[in-house]
């Protein structure tokens, strides 16, 4: 039996396992314009504990970079183990990766974003530059999350509120609880909403995912609420997205019973048929390391957005039916379907942590 058999999928689609034996695969980033050769990189996966895997056009996978964390992670789920290397995106022109992660500066936990460089066409990391660093953090969720490149060519970084004091999300002198907008070298663009500040929007709590929608040229994020009001937001320039006062403000939709949305992406590159054009697909993780099917998370949902700023439809698209701790975490559309990762994968073996997978969902024709 394949790991893919542990998932139910929406009628008219099928799931297949693409990669196995991944170490906590958290997020997926496709190369925007992959090269034509079989050995050219197609996608990258960041492992939460400091590895990046590259998968080539021919399906072969290798380690692009390892040892990116400067501390020993502790595998405590839920809890301090839910932290590390969280965000990944590919810079379209150079193929460089931007990666967001925690690091220890002596005994202090901080967050940083690095830009990696490769000398072999993107198959291995040769060096990196630090783009942003020294942001206070904690060893748990609510840390630095997704990074993405906007249609304007700028780098956008999602920062959680740091979990200790929600008011940081409203403090314009603190990068936590914000969506930052930066030049690719980390400098602050001249045309940011507040001169001299990297803040693009404020008032977020734990914004795991980011996706850019072509039809309205906007950034959408998945933000996690406390015990209520997980949400999807459309982020507009200079906006206050409400946390800690009102997580429903500026939200496209919210879950009253928290589901822990992680990555999200739009069907906008022809991966699925026109019938699903511009629909939003969101991975909802649920609680960390829960075995078996559960009422909370462990699914992918899809929704179509209305012109009025809400949603018109909502369906479960994928749901876990197995007995293990697998849950949907990373998600991204590729040239031939919707890809997602299951973070913990199936059961641990011989006292070793469980290993995750990369799956692909294809529409049946």
């Amino acid at each position: 039996m394949s790991a893919a058999d542990n998932w139910w999928v929406f009628p008219g689609f099928e799931i297949e396992t693409v990669l196995s034996e991944l170490d906590l695969p958290a997020n997926i980033a496709f190369v925007p314009r992959p090269g034509p050769r079989p050995e050219d990189p197609l996608l990258y996966i960041n492992g939460l504990y400091g590895t990046v895997t590259v998968m080539r056009n021919d399906g072969r996978a290798d380690v692009y970079a390892g040892g990116l964390l400067n501390y020993e992670p502790d595998h405590k789920f839920p809890g301090t183990g839910e932290s590390g290397l969280t965000g990944i995106c590919v810079e379209p022109a150079s193929g460089d990766l931007f990666l967001s992660m925690l690091y220890f500066d002596e005994d202090k936990v901080k967050a940083r974003v690095i830009r990696t460089h490769s000398a072999d066409g993107g198959l291995t990391m040769e060096s990196y530059d630090t783009v942003l660093q020294n942001v206070p953090s904690i060893k748990a969720a609510h840390q630095v999350q997704a990074c993405s490149i906007g249609f304007d060519g700028k780098l956008y970084v999602n920062f959680g509120d740091g979990m200790i004091d929600p008011k940081t999300a409203q403090d314009d002198g603190d990068w936590r609880g914000k969506i930052l907008r930066l030049e690719l070298d980390g400098n602050i663009p001249d045309d940011n909403p507040m001169p001299g500040s990297p803040i693009f929007a404020k008032g977020v709590r734990n914004p795991f995912g980011a996706a850019w929608r072509r039809s309205d040229q906007s950034l959408y994020i998945a933000d996690n609420g406390p015990h209520v009001d997980d949400r999807v937001c459309r982020v507009t320039r200079g906006e206050n997205l409400g946390w800690p006062d009102d997580l429903r403000r500026a939200s496209v939709m919210w879950w009253n019973f928290c589901q822990a949305p992680t990555a999200l992406d739009f069907n906008q590159t022809g991966s699925f048929s026109d019938y699903y054009d511009d629909e939003l697909f969101v991975a909802v993780f649920g609680s960390a390391y829960v075995k078996g099917p559960t009422h909370k998370g462990k699914k992918i949902v899809k929704m179509s957005l209305s012109d009025e700023g809400g949603i018109k439809s909502y369906d479960e698209f994928v749901a876990y039916t197995g007995e293990g701790p697998a849950s949907c975490c990373g998600l991204a559309f590729g040239p031939d379907g919707l890809y997602f990762t299951d973070l913990h994968g199936e059961f641990e073996a011989d006292g070793q942590p469980s290993r995750g997978h990369l799956f692909r969902i294809k529409e049946l024709t």
Binding site: K76, F77, P78, G79, T80, G81, I138, K139, A140, A141, H142, G162, M163, I164, P226, H227, V228, C258, S287, A288, V290, K296
Partner: protein
């Protein structure tokens, strides 16, 4: 909702995985603060993960830092 102090809830409490949980709490095997009340230990707030706890889910808890004096 009140959280009953029963072994099932204590075993599901995730406080020991929390960045705020410290050696003092650990040496006393303290947990289930949402039922038993605050900790006797000195606490530095480093984040609270009660929101991810199955006990909090079941009893619809909406607070954090139950351990804090």
């Amino acid at each position: 909702m009140n959280v009953p102090d029963i072994p099932e809830n204590a075993s599901r409490c995730i406080c020991p995985n929390c960045p705020t949980y410290n050696d003092c709490m650990s040496s006393d095997k303290q947990n289930l603060f949402c039922s038993r009340g605050k900790s006797s230990c000195k606490i530095d707030s480093n984040g609270c993960i009660c929101g991810e706890c199955p006990v909090a889910d079941q009893y619809r808890l909406n607070n954090l830092y139950y351990c804090e004096p």
